[in-house]
């Protein structure tokens, strides 16, 4: 299958400041890709370049097989900007109908789209009276218009409550299942972890890591930590058997490389009933994220 989106050695500078440095990536049809990175890492810049809103300095870029910002690409790509804004004097329904008309779609679909994002009851109120999350939903509704091949969503869950976030990701799953590619940026690591196929980490304009969460976990090779709680009377004995552990109160904490995980586990189980409880903590997404972000000098 031909990729929906291809970036090759894309570079963008603002004056003397590098916003993107030789970024290369591809996104396949039906793939959900999350773009992570610190504030100012270049996520929004990359998205605006993909949409053809701002020019880039060098590199190659193909969006649904066309040049970014060309009429062919614009017909296939939907965008949700970072802070979705609309004219406050229009109602949600009027705004969506306008966007439908611009895409050559039937404007009667408007109310259905708003209902899909939970804005049915507010459809005939002016957007000026909407809350931040409601404006964000108008933004989502317009991104669903037509059958876009690529959705570029800049912090789509910003301002959404937890239940709406879950609904939103379910919506995305449906779109991806129908073959749409999704590129979204986020600062909410846990939701990205469960809901996307691939993670990209940008740091200072450089793509420092790319892959599924498992890939990233392996290549980061962060230590696994164990928390062992011995039986009260066996505390000294267990501490002696695990000399590398540090004791905090009644629990012993130790960590080891991914590769030594099973060996360590075997040593602990050998202690049998002297151990009351054991917790294994694999490195969290936050740990992995800060590992890559830090390595790039943040």
């Amino acid at each position: 299958m031909t990729p929906t989106l291809t970036l090759q050695c894309l570079t963008k500078t603002y004056g003397s400041q590098r916003a993107l440095s030789e970024v290369s990536l591809t996104v396949a049809p039906g793939e959900r890709v999350a773009l992570l990175g610190h504030n100012g890492a270049g996520k929004s810049t990359m998205m605006k370049i993909i949409l053809g809103l701002i020019p880039y300095d060098s590199g190659e870029l193909l969006v649904t097989g066309a040049a970014p910002g060309s009429p062919a690409a614009r017909r296939q790509v939907a965008y949700l900007p970072e802070n979705a804004a609309f004219h406050p004097a229009l109602t949600g329904l009027e705004q969506i109908r306008h966007y439908l008309a611009l895409r050559g779609e039937n404007s009667a679909l408007g109310i259905g789209l708003l209902e899909r994002v939970g804005l049915g009851p507010a459809a005939k109120r002016r957007i000026g009276t909407y809350s931040k999350g409601m404006r964000q939903r108008v933004g989502l509704a317009q991104a669903l218009i037509g059958k876009p091949q690529l959705l570029v969503l800049d912090e789509p869950t910003g301002g959404l409550d937890p239940v709406s976030r879950r609904d939103f990701y379910e919506l995305l799953d449906g779109l991806a299942a129908e073959g749409a590619s999704i590129l979204l940026s986020s600062h909410a690591l846990t939701e990205v972890e469960a809901r996307t196929d691939r993670i990209l980490i940008l740091s200072g304009g450089v793509l420092v890591a790319e892959g599924s969460l498992g890939d990233l976990r392996r290549s980061a090779a962060l230590p696994v930590s164990f928390q062992v709680t011995p039986q009260r009377e066996a505390l000294a004995e267990v501490a002696l058997a695990l000399p590398e552990a540090t004791a905090t109160g009644e629990t012993l904490t130790l960590s080891c490389d991914q590769n030594d995980k099973l060996r360590l586990l075997a040593r602990i189980t050998e202690l049998g009933s002297k151990v009351a409880d054991i917790d294994v903590h694999p490195p969290s997404l936050e740990d992995i994220y800060s590992h890559f972000s830090k390595r790039a000098g943040q």
Binding site: A78, A84, A85, F86, A89, H98, L102, R126
Partner: protein, 273 residues
């Protein structure tokens, strides 16, 4: 085409909600009423029918008011979208920048036409009510109407260009006021001063007529006064109307809207959201 009319529809709604429709209609109606009332005191002394006299004074009014209303409606068109942050999303839609501009133009021009028609209509009714001869002035009124719409289109285009160049509503408003002052007020004052200084020399005979044609507002005034019976009723630059052929001023008022919209398109193309 569908995209242009959809844009125009949304813009028209916004203008209705922002009271621009009401404000511009009220403004034109009010001034027309005042002029009609003032005109009724100067009866038949000029030898023209009452409507023709009213048209002459409406022309002097329109020169100031139509560009003002047009600039007020248009200065926010692009700068406002940039500031609100709505432009970046709009530009990812399969709609071209000229289409966006034409949509806005269509809506704003419709409002302006409505306002001008209501204002002039009131003046016509008032004149016809007191003077049966006033029918003779209807062609002049019709000419004034469509040339006012062209003048409005010119200044809408100028307003969009200012809006795109300034990129901020406050800057665009300042630029629009500057353009209005420059083209409508200072331009004529400058010409007048130059004529006085020139004292019937080459400037007065060669440059002055061209300078009038080069300004859309002066061309509008020239065209309407030259074509009207009541030239003598208006003062100032009107004297020149006799020396400049009517096709020249007509060409100017026809070309200006195109030039202004081309300028606006060029300026809009340079805007990155």
């Amino acid at each position: 085409m569908n995209r242009i009319t959809a844009t125009a529809g949304a813009e028209f709604r916004i203008a209705v909600r922002n009271r621009w429709v009401a404000i511009s209609i009220a403004m034109m109606a009010l001034f027309s009423l005042v002029l009609s009332a003032a005109g009724s005191s100067a009866t038949g002394t000029i030898g023209a029918d009452r409507l023709s006299v009213v048209v002459a004074s409406l022309t002097s009014l329109a020169v100031y008011l139509v560009p003002l209303v047009a600039l007020l409606m248009s200065f926010d068109a692009i700068a406002g979208e940039v500031e609100r942050g709505t432009l970046s999303l709009l530009l990812t839609y399969p709609v071209s920048r000229p289409e966006i501009l034409l949509g806005k133009l269509l809506a704003h021009l419709a409002i302006l036409t409505l306002a001008v028609a209501v204002g002039y209509g009131i003046a016509a009714v008032a004149a016809l009510a007191v003077d049966g001869e006033a029918i003779a002035g209807l062609p002049a009124l019709w000419r004034l109407l469509w040339s006012s719409v062209l003048l409005g289109a010119t200044f809408l285009g100028v307003g969009y260009a200012a809006s795109a160049l300034a990129r901020r509503p406050s800057g665009a408003a300042g630029l629009a006021i500057g353009v209005w002052l420059g083209l409508i007020v200072l331009y004529d004052l400058g010409l007048l001063a130059a004529i006085v200084a020139d004292n019937g020399g080459i400037f007065t005979t060669k440059v002055f007529p061209l300078a009038l044609l080069a300004n859309p507002a002066d061309a509008f005034r020239l065209y309407n006064l030259a074509a009207s019976q009541a030239t003598s009723a208006a003062a100032g630059v009107a004297g020149a109307a006799n020396t400049i052929p009517i096709w020249a001023s007509l060409t100017s008022i026809l070309l200006w809207p195109l030039a202004a919209i081309a300028l606006a398109t060029a300026a809009f193309r340079k805007v990155t959201p």
